[in-house]
Symmetry: C2
């Protein structure tokens, strides 16, 4: 494949996803605030962009910290360079901002697909990412093989309305937080009552809670390791509550006091 | 099999579990506050006890609303009649009360096994119950085939310390409550953001949350049906907080305001 992709953001997820694209034969121009992160990709033949604008290829993938950073980099000048192209936005941001960005892209004749990523860096390396995505049918069709090459093992089409894939991502992140914090609290209680946490984890994660999120965190909790350590939940809980508007979110409100 | 079992409590779980025992060939003497519930078992050859004391067979299974009801029925006079026997207690109660009951049984030379049940009535009928159990090794050995015949597809040995199987059950019930209420809250947010709840449920329950608890409740929530309807969570959340003693239980405390 010789399709040219501009890849912006080589963080914990961005780097392995870009590496997967390079390995799949895509020609990459990469940009990252800290340029040294790109070394492994340059060694694989990628071009290092000095400025973000130089990464404005016909197809662009962004993997950034939050929505405002995407806004900062994907400027009108950037979009003019991409005319007729496609931007696959994997950053977790508010559904509202994603919808606004999609409209801005449309004005510049650039297709926009929101495709936030479920999965830890190891899952990106192993190409086991779960990815909900939303956008116009034609754009999604174009994005699909790229997302698969990036490491998506499960792609879920949420439809054409922007914001829906992001809402799914925010729902899932909140549920991960809820599952891990509830498991943590419950295991403390069980230990207090004299139970061996390893046995409790084994019982629960092999029956009612036989899902990856409980199994992976359960092992860590049973071993006395901390559950959630990432800074991401605090950010995403804020986006969740914002996305809920006037709805009551008592559980998320409590969790925001716990991060 | 001609082993004689006294079965006390023919509620939503008790009735199908007793029916499974009758079908497996055990001779049953059953007792229930509302005697009419026993009809289907009497039709299968079970004896209906007029008083609870008449159900004091060498092996007794109790399936009652809460610990105080067990205390009310399993009196010293009852235990004297069971001398040398075994009581399999499936009622969800506090780990502390179960430990006290075990000591009382020991005084009367009756073995005690705590075996609280995970599973809805349909799961009892389908013999798909998950059962953590605790007690002395010999008593558990005796209880095992009976629990299996009652409908346990997964039996988890928590050890010899009483209270540990109950702590596991309280942990699991709290986690079910947490999972369902968090899922409910998250789906409302996603709907508000324009997402189709059916697609969100499909995505999340086929990836990170591919566990029975999310799959069964997710279908109901996506169809607009209420999540948890049982009265049991309120009772069990109280037992959970009690079992946690002086530990902080912010999540359970919030949930107690939500039932």
């Amino acid at each position: 494949m010789t399709e040219h992709i501009g890849f912006i953001g080589l963080g914990l997820l961005g780097l392995p996803m870009a590496t997967n694209l390079a390995d799949a034969g895509y020609a990459l121009t990469v940009y990252n605030r800290t340029a040294s992160k790109a070394e492994v990709l340059v060694a694989r033949g990628a071009t290092l962009a000095e400025h973000a604008l130089d990464a404005a290829q016909p197809i662009v993938v962004t993997s950034l910290w939050d929505g405002p950073v995407v806004e900062l980099l994907i400027t009108p000048a950037f979009l003019d360079r991409m005319k007729g192209g496609l931007h696959i936005s994997t950053t977790t941001m508010s559904p509202k901002l994603s919808t606004q960005l999609a409209a801005l892209h449309a004005k510049h004749d650039v297709a926009f697909v929101e495709a936030p990523i479920f999965g830890r860096p190891e899952a990106a390396v192993a190409k086991q990412l779960a990815v909900p995505y939303a956008g116009l049918a034609e754009a999604k069709q174009r994005a699909k093989p790229i997302l698969t090459a990036m490491g998506a093992s499960s792609l879920f089409d949420l439809g054409e309305q922007f914001g829906t894939a992001l809402a799914t991502k925010l729902a899932g992140n909140f549920m991960i937080f809820s599952a891990v914090r509830s498991f943590t609290e419950a295991l403390e209680m069980a230990k207090h009552a004299g139970a061996d946490p390893k046995l409790v984890v084994e019982m629960l994660t092999s029956t009612l809670f036989s899902a990856p999120v409980y199994q992976s965190y359960g092992q860590r909790l049973a071993a006395g390791e901390p559950g959630l350590v990432s800074k991401i939940p605090a950010k995403d809980l804020g986006l969740y509550v914002e996305a809920a508007g006037q709805l009551h979110t008592p559980i998320a409100n409590l969790f925001r006091t716990m991060v």
